[in-house]
């Protein structure tokens, strides 16, 4: 059996799963000390199901803790950066586009050295070991132990980053070093930013992961545990201490993976309705479609393979305007507004059906009769026309957002998950079917529980020397090897995504190939 836990900003959700069935689930408020919330959620599902903790094979945890640390500028370790690429890149040194407050906390200790590669694998300049050694001495003298190393086109060739790491370690034994090639893809500033944030977060990651371990120990759970990454795959505890940035935005990913699992669909649109917002994402081959643009975390641009989600201000707590049901003077659709303002987490105090005095989307749905939540009597005299108009408006908002995320006009299945799913009361235009799976409120924890392990390849191939098929095969092999190295059972590894981007404004045939492979976790013992 597996336990999946999703630690969100508001709630900590947990599920206990036996194979593909959900045995027990819980939703508890997230606590300031993340481990306490996790311990409580674990205790809930274990007590609820009455299982023996020895029957638990694995605990999978999704957390926003490290994202929040960057956003709130807390628990960050001062970090130096060494970039290899001279004489290129000089005019935009590391951390050049960071918010000043964050750069101050991190220390702004940046160094440039020779090295780096061209897009086609040639060296920009020769690597100079002595230069890196001198830089390492300076970093040591500054009292820093955390270091990020980047090199131009290191996704094509990471050798200079690796050689530099070796030299830095010889000068600063036990240094905390992140190589940009281990983390990001093409886009030097964004990849380097992620590497720096990773080294910044490692001390916190070690403490947090140890805290998770302590919470499990306390409940006598001896199984291994894993942390979910933003690409929908898992990393083990030791790996998570090394690469905390890979958890950024894992929440929406888990939700979408959970939706895929619950519905049995691999290609669909997922509509995750919360209290204030609705996130719409696209499942392709069972994984979220990835955002093409840079994503900012705490004001810093990164280029992780983040899920491509579109958010609208619609949720269970959305305010309805006209605001009062007692004076529905203007019933015309032109003046009807649902959201974006919301009572949010105060829904259970402020909504009419919960004895409050604010008309929310949830009240209208209850008045419509499709749900029996709280005190239906409190909304019994709501204007019928208004109720119908609000329901129609909600479905229209969802339909427009769904259409925006589709890749063609062909109707596709729509899976609805999240606590606010009750808002979806009819058909969605452009959807072939609407699926509201069981356990929809805890899809995110389920997504964590069922996660697999993966590997990626993202680099530029020159088709002058290789045929296109050879290049694709090589990329697939690299991605598969990485999945196996990360803990996947070799026989279970599957290629789930292949993307080719020819390079524009260039003669000759250079093409960027991105491949992603995933496989089932090798079962412990």
């Amino acid at each position: 059996m597996r336990i999946g836990i999703d630690v969100g900003g508001t709630n900590t959700d947990a599920v206990l799963m036996d194979g593909t069935s959900v045995v027990s689930s819980t939703k508890t408020p997230t606590t300031a000390n993340v481990s306490e919330g996790i311990a409580r959620a674990l205790r809930d599902v274990i007590e609820d199901s009455g299982i023996d903790t020895a029957a638990i094979d694995g605990v999978m945890i999704g957390t926003t803790h490290f994202t929040n640390a960057v956003v709130e500028r807390k628990h960050l370790t001062p970090t130096a950066c060494i970039r290899l690429g001279l004489p290129a890149t000089v005019c935009l040194p590391p951390m050049v586009d960071w918010p000043l407050d964050l750069r101050d906390i991190v220390g702004g200790n940046a160094h440039l050295a020779h090295g780096g590669h061209e897009f086609d694998g040639r060296e920009i300049s020769a690597f100079e070991p002595d230069e890196v050694r001198d830089i390492a001495e300076k970093i040591k003298a500054a009292g820093l132990n955390a270091i990020a190393i980047s090199s131009v086109f290191s996704p094509v060739n990471s050798i200079f980053e690796e050689q530099s790491a070796e030299i830095v370690r010889s000068v600063i034994p036990g240094a905390n070093i992140t190589l940009s090639s281990e983390i990001g893809r093409i886009g030097l500033l964004e990849r380097e930013n992620a590497a720096i944030m990773n080294s910044c977060l490692r001390q916190l990651a070690a403490r947090t992961v140890d805290g998770f371990k302590a919470a499990l120990d306390e409940l006598q759970i001896t199984s291994p545990f894993y942390i979910s990454q933003n690409d929908g795959t898992l990393m083990n505890a030791e790996f998570a201490k090394e690469y905390p940035v890979l958890t950024f935005a894992s929440g929406p990913t888990n939700s979408m993976r959970g939706a895929a699992f619950l519905s049995g669909l691999k290609d669909a649109i997922v509509v995750d309705v919360g209290g204030t917002t609705t996130d719409i994402g696209v499942l392709q081959h069972g994984f979220p479609r990835v955002a093409a643009l840079a994503v900012e975390i705490g004001g810093v641009r990164t280029n992780f393979r983040m899920p491509d989600t579109y958010s609208i201000g619609l949720g269970g707590g959305s305010l309805i305007s006209p605001p009062s049901h007692t004076s529905p003077l203007s019933r015309g659709e032109s003046t009807l507004k649902v959201g974006p303002r919301s009572v949010g987490y105060e829904l259970t105090e402020k909504a009419l059906v919960f004895g409050g005095d604010v008309l929310t989307a949830t009240d209208v749905i209850v008045a419509g009769g499709s749900q029996d939540i709280g005190d239906a009597g409190a909304v019994a005299d709501l204007d019928r026309d208004l109720v119908a108009a609000v329901q129609a408006r909600i479905m229209e908002m969802i339909a427009i957002a769904v259409d925006r995320m589709k890749t063609s006009a062909t109707p596709v299945p729509v899976i609805v998950v999240g606590g606010g799913s009750i808002l979806v009361t009819g058909a969605v235009e452009g959807a072939s079917e609407i699926i509201k799976p069981d356990h929809f409120p805890v899809a995110n924890a389920i997504g964590a529980a069922i996660a697999q392990v993966g590997g990626e390849c993202d680099r530029i191939f020159s088709l002058a020397e290789l045929s296109r098929d050879e290049a694709l095969d090589q990329a697939k092999q690299e991605a598969s090897d990485r999945a196996v190295n990360a803990g996947a059972a070799a026989e279970s590894v599957d290629i789930v995504d292949v993307e080719e981007v020819p390079l524009a404004y260039l003669p000759g045939n250079a093409t960027r190939i991105m491949v992603k492979a995933v496989g089932d976790l090798v079962e412990a013992g």
């Binding site: 290129a88 005019c91 897009f119 500033l189 093409a292 259409d403 981007v501 390079l503 404004y505």
Partner: protein, 360 residues
């Protein structure tokens, strides 16, 4: 003369992305370069051509190559300085100022970086008033200004100097050399006197880009529709509102070519727009009728935010507004039109100015 500071750069970059007509690449890297240089060396003087002496030598500067590479192998900065100086040395005269050859995308802000570093002015004019993919595609070519002598430099310090028989030959040689430099290079070209530029260049384009960028920023701030605000500033026509219903894209000979279809909404309900692009948006048809073509400008904007959508970013389902607006009058002279008319790009139609198409 006025001074350009960091805040002006943000507006110029947004406006230049709209003037890019779907091409010119994301100005983010160029914007950062200009911003950092201004922080370090101080604001840059922006002069009109009229404020300079007729005999002053102006040397435009730019970058060329693959935008995908530009986000990884960030510029050295010295490369563009080196190309600029090399050209000055070859001509035997000290340049008085620099300017843009292209006011769309990254190349609209690169000269500002150069000017900040060298403490020289930037001239408020350019050679395209928009973005185009090839070196000879400027009103300067048509105005008899040679792209040669031409200097190109890389981060290593290599300098290539070229004196070609035509601006088209400059393009041919430079395009193949830039691959050896790692797919991006800094260039200086089209050196000319202020007198020549007064006659040939498109005036006021830096100011126009800034005005467009400021319009978008203020419209968002006041929660007004940025699309309408932009249309008013550029004296353009709202061609369409709707959503992208199909995108067909392929790369051929190093350039992104393709087409997109859009289904109309609101006042355009029931109509279909067809867009043909090759790095830039080039030809627009509504229900089969031509409504705008190159060299007039075509901007595809996000219908809510007004953010310009490049040819690479077009995607099914996007809600867009399309505006078309007149190119600089110089483009409409036969010698200039020949360089960038629909037929040059392989579309078998005559160029008719967008305002005439809309008048009928």
């Amino acid at each position: 003369m006025r001074l350009l500071d960091e805040a002006n750069i943000d507006d110029i970059a947004v406006g230049a992305a709209i003037l890019g007509s779907g091409g010119g690449s994301n100005p983010y890297i160029g914007k950062l370069m200009a911003r950092e240089a201004i922080k370090r060396y101080g604001p840059v003087q922006l002069h009109t051509l009229d404020e300079l002496d007729d005999d002053d030598l102006i040397v435009p500067a730019a970058g060329m190559g693959a935008p995908v590479v530009a986000v990884e192998k960030l510029p050295a900065g010295d490369d563009i300085v080196r190309a600029f100086h090399a050209l000055g040395k070859y001509t035997g005269r000290a340049p008085r100022a620099t300017m843009s050859i292209e006011s769309g995308g990254m190349n609209s802000v690169r000269p500002i970086y150069l000017a900040a570093r060298l403490g020289i002015p930037v001239v408020d004019c350019d050679g395209m008033g928009r973005a185009f993919p090839e070196i000879q595609m400027t009103v300067l070519t048509a105005g008899g200004i040679s792209a040669s002598p031409f200097a190109m430099s890389d981060e290593r310090g290599n300098i290539l100097l070229m004196d070609a028989v035509s601006n088209r030959w400059v393009e041919v040689f430079a395009r193949s050399c830039v691959t050896h430099m790692g797919a991006i290079g800094a260039i200086a070209l089209y050196s000319a006197t202020v007198k020549q530029l007064k006659a040939a260049a498109i005036h006021g384009t830096t100011t126009l880009a800034e005005k467009i960028g400021r319009t978008v920023r203020e419209a968002r701030l006041k929660e007004r529709n940025p699309v309408d605000a932009v249309r008013a500033v550029v004296d353009g026509f709202l061609v369409f509102r709707g959503k992208i219903s199909d995108v067909d894209r392929r790369i051929s000979e190093g350039f992104a070519k393709g087409g997109a279809k859009m289904a109309g909404s609101g006042a355009f309900e029931g109509q279909e727009l067809q867009l043909a692009f090759q790095n830039e948006h080039l030809v627009l048809r509504v229900d089969g009728d031509y409504v705008a073509t190159t060299p007039d400008l075509i901007a595809v904007l996000d219908s809510e935010t007004g953010a310009p959508i490049t040819t690479e970013a077009l995607r099914y389902g996007m809600r867009v507004a399309v505006i078309a607006f007149p190119c600089a009058p110089q483009w409409r002279e036969p010698a200039a039109l020949e360089l960038v008319c629909p037929r040059y790009f392989g579309y078998d139609i005559d160029y008719v100015p967008v305002e005439e198409r809309f008048a009928s």
